[in-house]
Subunit: 378 residues, 2 copies
């Protein structure tokens, strides 16, 4: 299947109901993408992902490059085949992880020298190298390498990173075009990434520069880095305003359940976040009544399902008392079930958001959802 995006309906809020076609299947948007860092969404089998209706997941270029290595994955037929995942995959550029490393050595216009968190070995990530890796992985959607900056960052700092990001985006695009045959997934797409820190003018400028480079989709990066949520939404809107209506928009690394609809309201079509799986492993569960810390003793004798409004396998099958016991006993099944529910919960929200857009009622959905979370009544 050839990469293709259609907007099926637009809500009064600006939210879009859409359909994204990739070489590995169709994705209903707005879509939430679970994070499969090292070729696995932690705690879930690929069978479970399928049962949950996951259509696209995210793989981390940095982790897969270091282990098991992108050339190994290429030899084994690409990431889909390596992990036996028939659905779509989006890979990040590796930049976010590299810029987050304490052992980051040096950033130049050429790229970034960094040390592996696994063995301290030195590596060089350039725009071209990032695309080479992502072509070996054969994701359906690859991302350009961008310069990720700290928050807060002043206008000059953000403008400098933006400039480099645009230049790297051009180099990624050119390298991907020149080496299109080497991808293990024919028809792989490449998205640009809007940067610009928390400066609306820079977000607009970044978007315009990327649009000139003509990507089939656009991400908005550098959000959810510590800024207030309202500012995050403001920046997403400032970027989206300058992005073409017929291309998918992806806000990277967001968000909390109660924030998802806000990004969607900015006209965002895709999101990814490690929260559902990471929090699950720590016993923090998302429910329609807000967050549940399952290790709390109040759940020890509670026979009720985790979330009575949730129809996932976990909530249909197990009690809070059992989930609490598994967590206390440090059982593997705690991670399995908690991850399953949290991912199901995020996917369910996105399903309800899509339904609300279809009926032109996203604002109503958001206010009802928030009211329930605040009152704590599932």
């Amino acid at each position: 299947m050839e990469f293709h995006f259609e907007v099926l309906k637009t809500d009064p809020s600006g939210a879009r109901l859409g359909r994204l076609t990739t070489p590995h299947g169709v994705i209903d948007t707005p879509a939430f993408m679970p994070v499969g860092t090292a070729g696995t969404v932690k705690g879930l089998t690929q069978q479970a992902l399928g049962d949950l209706g996951v259509q696209i997941l995210l793989g981390n270029t940095y982790h897969l490059y270091l282990r098991p290595g992108h050339e190994r994955i290429r030899q084994l037929g690409g990431l889909h085949r390596f992990m036996s995942w028939p659905g779509a995959i989006l890979t990040d550029s590796g930049g976010f992880q590299v810029f987050s490393l304490a052992e980051l050595r040096k950033v130049t216009d050429d790229g970034v020298v960094f040390r592996s968190h696994l063995d301290g070995s030195e590596h060089f990530l350039s725009p071209e190298k990032s695309i080479e890796i992502q072509q070996a992985l054969g994701s359906d959607i690859a991302m350009v390498l961008d310069e990720c900056i700290e928050y807060p960052a002043d206008h000059a700092r953000a403008a400098g990173a933006l400039k480099r990001t645009t230049e790297w985006a051009r180099r990624c695009r050119d390298y991907a075009r020149a080496h299109v045959e080497t991808s293990t997934t024919p028809g792989q797409s490449l998205f640009g990434i809007v940067q610009g820190g928390m400066h609306a003018d820079l977000r607009g400028a970044s978007a315009k520069q990327l649009v000139d480079l003509d990507f089939p989709g656009y991400a908005i990066g550098g959000l959810a880095v510590g800024e207030p949520h309202a500012l995050s939404i403001e920046m997403a809107a400032a970027a989206a305003e300058h992005l073409p209506k017929d291309r998918p928009r992806y806000v990277m690394g967001v968000g909390l359940p109660e924030q998802l609809a806000d990004y969607v309201g900015c006209g965002v079509d895709m999101m990814d976040c490690v929260l559902p799986t990471r929090n699950a492993r720590n016993g923090c569960l998302f429910t329609s009544a807000g967050r549940v810390n399952i290790k709390n003793a109040i759940y020890a004798d509670d026979p009720r399902p985790l979330d009575e409004r949730c129809s996932c396998m976990v909530c249909k099958t197990y009690s809070r008392a059992y989930l609490r016991h598994l967590f206390q006993a440090n059982e593997i099944l705690a991670s399995i079930l908690n991850s399953h529910h949290n991912v199901a919960f995020f996917l369910d929200i996105m399903g309800k958001i899509r339904q609300a857009i279809a009926f032109g009622e996203l604002a109503d959905f958001s206010s009802e959802f928030l009211a329930r979370i605040e009152t704590g009544e599932p």
Copy 2:
């Protein structure tokens, strides 16, 4: 359903094909029972156990007594309901774990004083207490408390433990009968346990004494404690010889894949073992060509299924290279998939053993199976 056992066919070797009916379903015997220590078979969801065709699993009284507590499980409706497992459950008496504890304090004719491995708190386990706990758990099959001894143990030591075991078996039986109404599973059965160390005369004497107490089934305990396999089989046979043909026989805590048919050949109907799940978590996988240590670098680029003769979900879906990557990256999915395969492998052996008995060809099955494991060709 009322507890009931039928022998459907007997193989020339002495192996029996049977059908055990319990309050939670029918079990095809000979049966392998995965171990669900703390209310979960480590690494497997209850859904996966069902998919694998598990008909009965084992729960550990010692662990469940300490955490989450048997009275809590009673309040929550018993162990089946607590862990949402509709199939049959057998619970051990807690004796084996208690006798294995370093902090074991004192054994008297009354029972055993021990300290919890979790918090050092002091507890007392008597025959009556063990049944009280198992009635709260509501297993389909409960076990009498027995005195487990070290290996090797001389004749006098083994004879002393045997005497106490018989007396405890009588007390367990009497307590269970007197308190039958307090079990969370109506129709719960109680099995006696043959002891006697590695002394054939004592094994015979123990069996006869237990038969006089008239249990609906008999276990053979104190095997696989370090003795040579041939001696283990000799002891199982010495016990089985004196057990009634119309009652199920259960050898506790065995064994390796290549040993299972030997116990079955002694007329054994049930076995349990932690090996498939424990070894799985250490990357030791059982295959038709012998054991595979999946962390070995030779598997890093190996696109083949773990065991080409295995039709489990893992072998149908994933490559050795992927399994090796997951293990190296310490991913939860490594434990999930490795446990799934190993349990599937043990269950598959038992299925083939049942088929071989049905055709009167158990000896042929064993020699073919062993030949394959020794040549290392799956």
